[in-house]
């Protein structure tokens, strides 16, 4: 009965992210970790070569995962599989699309491939998520075709403070736009270095036109609930799970805390007896050139 079918439309791309809301997306490096994430109730897994804490510790150039590992992860789980490509590396993105991953994260956690241009994401059928530290950055990514945004935070630290700062910044900049007289939106567009049409749309909606997740430094159930209370639609957890003492238990607890983010009784219950959290690094102790959130613009 159906006639013309359209794939890769904006609605289909943004709609996929809507289905992830209220959920936890977990970084995994192999099929075993992916299975643990799915068993815990993750809404999706994110395939990458090394978790951010290891990228930070080991240094070197961080790239897209080996396609064999991605295929292995896809075969191991039934939930959506996302994968990271380097900023501006449109061929890594082409490869990931050819592997039929469900979402591509053009991510500052990997070493950027291009310091001037992000990927032209409109050229792809597969949707993209990108990081942002503020509203203007989010809108520039949406202009390039991102169908989902995550606040950047500072990946691989277990320090939630930057995630908080970025989420608060985005929310307060949106609130300011919504309260602004219409004739001031033109110069607001200039200040945010974003197209006027998107600025006007955000002012009208009071939110981004795409789903906004949080990422970078979330290590505990309370961290996840904090970010949800600050307005995140859902949570990415990277090193926080597989760099902790009991990944399966912690993963499940973070899923349950995210779903019950307004209920301190539940958060208290699931936070108990989780074993060691990831050790963590204070963002302030990381020299600025080594801060991942500074990548991208």
């Amino acid at each position: 009965m159906s006639n013309e079918r359209a794939t890769g439309t904006t609605r289909v791309k943004r709609g996929m992210a809507e289905m992830l809301k209220g959920g936890v997306i977990m970084d995994v490096v192999d099929a075993t970790q992916a299975k643990i994430a799915e068993d815990a109730g993750a809404v999706a897994v994110m395939a990458l070569e090394r978790v951010p804490a290891d990228i930070r510790a080991q240094g070197g150039v961080a790239r897209m995962s080996d396609p064999d590992l991605i295929e292995g992860i896809k075969a191991a789980v039934s939930i959506p599989v996302m994968a990271k490509a380097r900023i501006g590396h449109f061929v890594e993105a082409q490869v990931l699309q050819s592997l039929a991953v469900d979402y591509i994260d053009e991510s500052e956690v990997l070493t950027p491939a291009d310091y001037a241009h992000h990927i032209d994401k409109w050229q792809f059928t597969v949707p993209f998520v990108c990081g942002a530290t503020n509203l203007g950055e989010a809108l520039r990514r949406i202009t390039e075709g991102a169908a989902m945004i995550r606040s950047k935070g500072e990946a691989g630290t277990g320090d939630v403070s930057n995630a908080v700062t970025h989420m608060r910044t985005i929310r307060s900049e949106i609130a300011a736009l919504s309260a602004m007289p219409k004739d001031e939106l033109y110069s607001a567009a200039k200040e945010h270095r974003a197209p006027y049409e998107l600025i006007a749309e955000v002012a009208e909606l009071g939110k981004l036109p795409v789903v906004l997740f949080t990422a970078g430094g979330i290590a505990t159930p309370a961290d996840a609930a904090l970010m949800m209370q600050l307005g995140a639609d859902g949570v990415f957890v990277g090193s926080g799970i597989f760099k902790s003492g009991d990944p399966a238990k912690r993963a499940k607890a973070i899923v349950e805390a995210t779903a019950n983010y307004q209920d301190p009784d539940v958060i208290a219950r699931v936070s108990a007896g989780l074993g060691e959290a990831m050790v963590g690094i204070n963002v302030d102790d990381i020299p600025v050139p080594h801060r991942l959130a500074e990548r991208g613009w």
Binding site: S2, N3, R11, M19, G23, S78, Y103, A259
Partner: protein, 202 residues
């Protein structure tokens, strides 16, 4: 029924807001359902799109599984889109062994049947009960209905790229399910159809 019906949206995970917005245009009170207490007093329930395996686990964690089975068994109207359709099925193909099948509709549902996200699509389809105008249906890593029992009314089908004819909308008694996401468009005809079922039941 004289007063406005209260329609719940299962709010454990997924596109809860979009369903709530669509329902709000249908002259009902909308309530988010997270706990057994929330479930009491709703006249019908929508199970949204999202990740069915995650929702399964959270239904159990929240202690909602048995109360929900009881309400559905007692005839409470339910509507599920996408993940919601999977949860309402009698049995699930390509799912996890431990995932919940509420059995509200006598159907076998195949999860992610249309393929990965690159195969997700939108198309105009006819849906029985929604009038002659085609409806823009959004399919996201969508399931289809592999087979149905005799009591199930098929509301819509689509032809897959390989030429197969697949069921994508069904109704049985007070339960309805769609593979697609009417909540992602501004067309609330599917929600209006469900609200009509809720009114008739109440």
């Amino acid at each position: 029924m004289n007063r406005r019906p209260i329609v719940g949206v299962l709010a454990l995970q997924g596109d809860v807001r979009e369903h709530a917005r669509a329902l709000a245009t249908c002259d009902v009170d909308v309530r988010e359902v997270r706990t057994p207490a929330h479930l009491q007093g709703v006249n019908g329930l929508v199970i949204p799109g999202g990740e069915s395996t995650t929702m399964s686990k959270l239904l159990d964690f929240q202690g909602l599984l048995d109360p929900l089975r009881e309400r559905i068994g007692a005839g409470m109207p339910v509507y599920g889109s996408c993940a919601g359709m999977i949860l309402l099925a009698a049995s699930i193909l390509d799912g996890r062994a431990d995932q919940v099948a509420l059995g509200a509709i006598d159907m076998v549902v195949r999860r992610n049947a249309f393929g990965a996200q690159v195969d997700s699509f939108e198309a105009d389809i006819a849906v029985s009960g929604c009038g002659p105008e085609p409806l823009r249906a959004v399919f996201i890593r969508a399931p289809w209905v592999e087979s149905v029992g005799e009591q199930v009314e098929v509301l819509s089908r689509v032809v897959t790229p390989t030429g197969a004819d697949r069921i994508v909308a069904v109704r049985q008694g007070a339960a309805m399910a769609t593979s697609f996401h009417p909540e992602l468009t501004s067309d609330a005809r599917v929600h209006a159809l469900f609200v009509e079922m809720v009114r008739q039941h109440a």
